[in-house]
Symmetry: C2
Subunit: 354 residues, 2 copies
C-alpha cells in the first residue's frame, strides 16, 4: 500500500501497535487521536505521523463503545475510503453501521485477536499481530474490494486473516475469550477474602488460571455488554457444572458423587485436547528447534554465538533443565523461513537437535 | 545428612525429583517402589540406589490414597526413623496415622508445593522444589526432632519450609490449588462442544486459564476427595457469583446489571492484587536482571558469551522486543548469590541494565 494511504484513528495499544507494525514494513500511517498526549507518544514511538491526506483505508482503533459512531463519522469524512474497526464484538457495531451509514458497502468489520493486559500506546509492540488471527467480518453489504483491502492489511503485517460472519465471530469469542475472562475474574474474586498465609502458597497453577483477571474492568464491561446474548447461555452451562460439583463435594459419601467429579475432570481433559497447537505454546507461527547443550556456563552462549554468526535472529528462547544435570535443552524459536537453514547449519556443525 | 540416611518410597515425579535434588547435593537416597520399571528408571536417572540400610528419615511419595497406609507401614518397618509423606491433603492422613500408628510422634506430614502436569519418573527434575514452599504440618504428637529433620531436608534442597497445622494447610490449598483446578476443568469442559472454527481463535488468555485442566483426573480425584469439606464452601461462593453474572447477562437492560458485572471484574482485579510477587513470574527465588541489547543477530550471543566468561550460570531467560525495533530487552534469571556480581560486571563493561 502507498505511503499515507492508511489512517489509524485511536492510538491506544492496538492503534499504536498497528502503526509500528506498518512502519516496520516501510509504511508511514496517518495517526489521529482525541488525546493529544497519546497521539504525541505514538508518533514519538515511530508509529506514524499526524499529517493528514486522503486515505484509502481507515482503521478505527477506539474503545468498543465508540467504534460504531467513529466508523460512521470516518465513512462520511472520507467518501472514497474503506473503513474497518478492530473492536472485539462485531454484530452490534455492524447493525448500527448498516442502519445509519450512507454507504455501508465501504465498511467491513474486523478483529485482530491480539492484546495485552496493559493498554495505551506505551504498551504497544510492533509484533503484536504477528502470527495471530485477524478476523474479518463482512456484512452482506460489504464490497469485495473493501474485504480485500482489510485482508491485505492483515497479511502485510504478518497476521492471519480469517473471514467469518459477525454473528459467528461473536459466538466464537464468547467461548474462547469472554467466558475465560469471567471465569478468571470469578476465581480471582475468591482470593479477596483469602488470608495472607494462604496466598503465600500460590503456585503457577493459580497464577495462570487467574492471570487475565487483572484486565481493565472498564474496557471489559464494554466488550462483554455488547455480547450478552452469546455469553449468557455459556454461563448457564458453566453454572450447572459448578452446581453439580458443589453438590458432589457437599455429599461426597453419596453414590455417584466421585463419578461426577471424575467425569468433570475428564471432560476438562477432552476440552483441553480441542485447543489447536502445542498447549501453552505462546509462539504460534514461529518454528521451534530444540538443541542439546552442556548445562554449564558458556555453553548457551556458544550456541547463540553460532546462531548469530549464521545471521539468524532468535525470536524467543526457553531453557529446560534435564533431570540429573549434565545436559540442558534449549528451545529456540525462529521465523519459519529461517528454521530449515538453521537446523541444517546446526547439524552440520555438530550440534545435536532433538 | 549422612549417605544412605534418607529413604524415598515411591519413585514417581515427586520421589524421583527429590532423589535427583539430593544427588545434586551429594546425598545418595535409598529408593523403593512397588513398580520395578519405575524404580529402575529412577536409578538410571541418578535419583539414588536400591541398596537398603536403616534410614533416619523416610519420605513417602506414593499416591494420596495410599499415603496413610504406607506411612504406618514404614513407621513399623523402621522403628527409629522419622517418617513424612508428601501428599497434597494433610488432615485425613494425619488422623489415620494418629489413630493407627504405634508411635505417631515419629510422623510429621509435609507437602512440597511443586508439580507438573505430567507425572512419572521421566518427568522428574532436580530443581522441582527449588524456591518453592515445602509445607510441614506437625500434629500435636509430632516430636520436635521429627519436625527438624523434615525442615532440614527441605532446606537442603533449596525449598522454603513453612510450618502450619494440617487443617490450616488443607484450607489454604482448597483456595490456591483445588478451586483453580476445578475452575480450569469446568472452563475446559465447555470447549468439548465448541466448533473447530471457534477453537482456532484460541489465544493465550484461554490457554493460560485452562492449562491445568490437562492434569490427571485419577490423581486429582484422590486429592480433591480428601478435602471436600474445605472445597464445598468455596464452590458454593463461586457458584453464587457465576449465578449473579448469568442473571446480569440474561437481563442486561435491567437496572444494576452492568454494575454487577463491573463489580465482579473489579473484585477479580483486587483478588489478583493479593497474589504475592510479580504476577505471572514463574521464577520466584531467582533474581532477575533486565539488560538492553541491540535487536540484531549476534547481540544476544555476545551478552551470553560475556556472562559465561564471568562464570555465571543462567537459570532462565526471556526476550522482550521493544516497541519499534532497534532495541531488545533480555530478562536474565540467576541465583541470588550470583546476581550482584553479575550486575556489577555487566555495568562495568558497558552493558545497560534497566
Amino acid at each position: 500500500m502507498n505511503q499515507d494511504a492508511i489512517k489509524i484513528v485511536g492510538t491506544g495499544l492496538i492503534g499504536t501497535s498497528l502503526g509500528l507494525a506498518l512502519a516496520k514494513k516501510g509504511t508511514v500511517a496517518q495517526l489521529s487521536d482525541s488525546s493529544k498526549a497519546n497521539l504525541r507518544l505514538a508518533i514519538e514511538y515511530g508509529a506514524g505521523q499526524d499529517k493528514q491526506s486522503e486515505p484509502k483505508l481507515v482503521v478505527v482503533c477506539v474503545p468498543p463503545d465508540l467504534s460504531a459512531d467513529v466508523v460512521i463519522e470516518q465513512l462520511d469524512l472520507h467518501p472514497d475510503a474503506t473503513v474497518t474497526d478492530v473492536a472485539s464484538v462485531k454484530f452490534e457495531i455492524q447493525e448500527r453501521v448498516l442502519a445509519q451509514a450512507k454507504d455501508p458497502s465501504r465498511y467491513v468489520g474486523s478483529h485482530p485477536m491480539a492484546g495485552r493486559e496493559k493498554g495505551g500506546p506505551a504498551s504497544a509492540r510492533a509484533d503484536l499481530f504477528f502470527a495471530r488471527p485477524w478476523v474479518i467480518t463482512p456484512s452482506s453489504n460489504s464490497s469485495d474490494a473493501a474485504v480485500d483491502l482489510v485482508r491485505d492489511l492483515a497479511i502485510s503485517i504478518g497476521a492471519l486473516p480469517i473471514v467469518m460472519s459477525a454473528k459467528e465471530h461473536d459466538r466464537a469469542v464468547a467461548l474462547v475469550s469472554h467466558l475465560p475472562q469471567l471465569v478468571a475474574s470469578s476465581l480471582a474474586a475468591r482470593l479477596e477474602s483469602g488470608e495472607d498465609s494462604q496466598l503465600n502458597l500460590t503456585g503457577q497453577g493459580l497464577r495462570d488460571t487467574s492471570r487475565i483477571a487483572s484486565s481493565d474492568p472498564g474496557l471489559w464491561l464494554q466488550i462483554l455488554s455488547q455480547n450478552s446474548s452469546e455469553i449468557a447461555p455459556l454461563l448457564s452451562a458453566l453454572r450447572k457444572d459448578i452446581e453439580e460439583l458443589e453438590e458432589a463435594f457437599s455429599n461426597l459419601s453419596e453414590a455417584g458423587a466421585l463419578a461426577k467429579i471424575h467425569s468433570l475432570l475428564e471432560r476438562g481433559n477432552r476440552g483441553i485436547g480441542r485447543i489447536p497447537g502445542k498447549h501453552g505454546g505462546k509462539l504460534v507461527g514461529y518454528q521451534q528447534l530444540t538443541v542439546v547443550i552442556d548445562d554449564s556456563p558458556g555453553s548457551l552462549a556458544s550456541l547463540l554465538t553460532f546462531i548469530g554468526e549464521i545471521g539468524v535472529n532468535i525470536e524467543d528462547l526457553k531453557l529446560e533443565h534435564s533431570p540429573g544435570a549434565p545436559i540442558g535443552l534449549v528451545e529456540v524459536f525462529v521465523t519459519p523461513d529461517s528454521a530449515e537453514k538453521l537446523a541444517g547449519q546446526l547439524t552440520e556443525n555438530g550440534w545435536r537437535i532433538v
